[in-house]
Symmetry: C2
Subunit: 350 residues, 2 copies
Amino acid sequence: MHSVDEGRDAATVSRRVPRQVVMVDVARRAGVSHQTVSRVINDPESVRAETREKVLAAIRELDYRPNRAARALATGRTGTVGVVAYDTRLYGPASMLHAIQLAAQDAGHSVNIVSLDSLERGPVLDAVDRLRSQGVDGIIIIAPEVAAAQALIEIPADFPVVAVEGLLDGPTPVVAVDQFLGATKATRHLLDLGHSTVWHITGPGDWYEARVREQGWRSTLEEAGISPPDPLPGDWSPRSGYEQGKRLIGSGADVTAVFVANDQMALGVMRVLYEAGLEVPGDISIVGFDDIPEASYYAPPLTTVRQEFLEVGTLSMAMLLRRLRRELDGPVKRVVEPDLVVRASTAPPR
Amino acid sequence: MHSVDEGRDAATVSRRVPRQVVMVDVARRAGVSHQTVSRVINDPESVRAETREKVLAAIRELDYRPNRAARALATGRTGTVGVVAYDTRLYGPASMLHAIQLAAQDAGHSVNIVSLDSLERGPVLDAVDRLRSQGVDGIIIIAPEVAAAQALIEIPADFPVVAVEGLLDGPTPVVAVDQFLGATKATRHLLDLGHSTVWHITGPGDWYEARVREQGWRSTLEEAGISPPDPLPGDWSPRSGYEQGKRLIGSGADVTAVFVANDQMALGVMRVLYEAGLEVPGDISIVGFDDIPEASYYAPPLTTVRQEFLEVGTLSMAMLLRRLRRELDGPVKRVVEPDLVVRASTAPPR
DNA sequence: CAGGCGCATGTGAGCGCTAACAGCGGGCGG
DNA sequence: CCGCCCGCTGTTAGCGCTCACATGCGCCTG
């Protein structure tokens, strides 16, 4: 039980440990060859029903589990897919990861995950390398950073990779929410309410999504003949929303509407507005992005742009599976439309 | 480029595909035996510096990557650890998972993750089985449900497993936050402010953490000679906080203080109080649990019990690594103390 | 100066599985 | 009635790596 005994056990009577059950053990017990056992496992139809039953019985009795490493060595496939992600604590990545996993499990694959601790191109490639040398059959990259998207083009073209939220115009298959459209809907909504302009607090500049949302906001204003004010740089955290919100109201500008690049930052903004004695939406209207589960319980409930993260995750896994099966036709770009969810944080200007 | 060509290529000129570089290729190029290459990779010190350099050069030139499946087959170890989790979208599990991954990567292990879609005992065991048959070297179970904790005892004792947030009195090594203490601190704080009793909205009854928090709350009240009111059952979601909060204020009871089992539910409670025209903390004080990043931006900023999820994740990985190395001494139960973070949602009763 | 020891490297035998082909009966067409 | 094909099962040869042991060489020791 204690460490000393353990050590002795292992050394002296090592053979008392029952050796792992392998295929030949099952074969012997069932009175067939090991290859027949293999067939029962991989292609049951090719074995006579009666034989199959004997083998299955033996498998059950011995509690046999095939050794995946051996199978991987023989077939060249591991049945594992890799996922590269940046920060899986963020709601979006976490949701997509969750959906990816469930889809992978349904398809009989397992999921290996590598977290990045940096947004640069090098680490992304390292992560991909690491996964590849582990022998994953394919990779999904949830790395909506610009650098990550660029890294994709350095991955050998014949290796199955699917990007989530990446560059739509690159060579890599992608599943993404239409961020531009989402930003447009948010900005449009505020303009339609009668606001003369819309301010914007962005996500981190090295995130692809943040840039596209900013573009969507900018071009919507320009189309309406409004010259966009300077955007304020956030980093997704409620804290940065608070800080940028403070800057905004301290700037002396006449602000009546703000499109904030995600819901957490919007929370920070609303907090600082409250502290400044400003009312939402009375004095200032706020629109967020994501529609996290908390958004409808904020004070006031947040008007936001809903992204279907789970759908994106599921679709990306489906796309990867198709590529693993070498079904090279079919779509390689899937765009999911976001929806505006109007709640109580937006109203016409006073 | 298209699927048709692909098929033909593979069939007719299959050998044009450059075969994967394997160890003997490196050996040949460096003018040594394959075993020397293996040594350079696994135990560089055992090879003469000059030889080592030649081998490393050859590895670089050929872009050689060891085949992990082959190594796993030969050694019996895969260098992969499994993580079983329930819902990795929740902030706590997501944070712990993140820390576990980083720690695993530091230690040169990769992480295989299985998500459960049910809280029952069967699926937990299935997940463990699946991971084991994939050949993971060890498993961390982030499954703070009661059933999961029970499942642990059915796992063979010699297989390295570490539980996170599980039963402290079971045989399995565990890393956990002291939920009881956390609940005590929350309740104590409210009593110290002068509230005559503290109501409680719980987490789901099948979660171990939820039960212990309830016990902590209950016993603190009892120690103070107060008979605990009936707790209200939540499910961690802001929605359930909203609903239970509504029940609470509709009950006609004289409620001045509520300890809510997590921050999201606390948000829901504060929302419903606001809608009912009640002030926090003026009319009712609220304490949450977790200290999620948003908590300090809620309206009002939430007094809550901080759990160091990252620390728990890191510690659990460290414990697993020790077990993988067969260091069977050392602690098998680690308890992390939570801290009360006092913000603006609590005050003396009016 | 013989014996031996330690260091650096090589050789051969598996790890447990699948792929490819071989064998072996029985039914069918020529 | 012979040959052939088909359905089922067995045999053999790897997949790419590590482990255990063998080898060769220089050096120390008695």
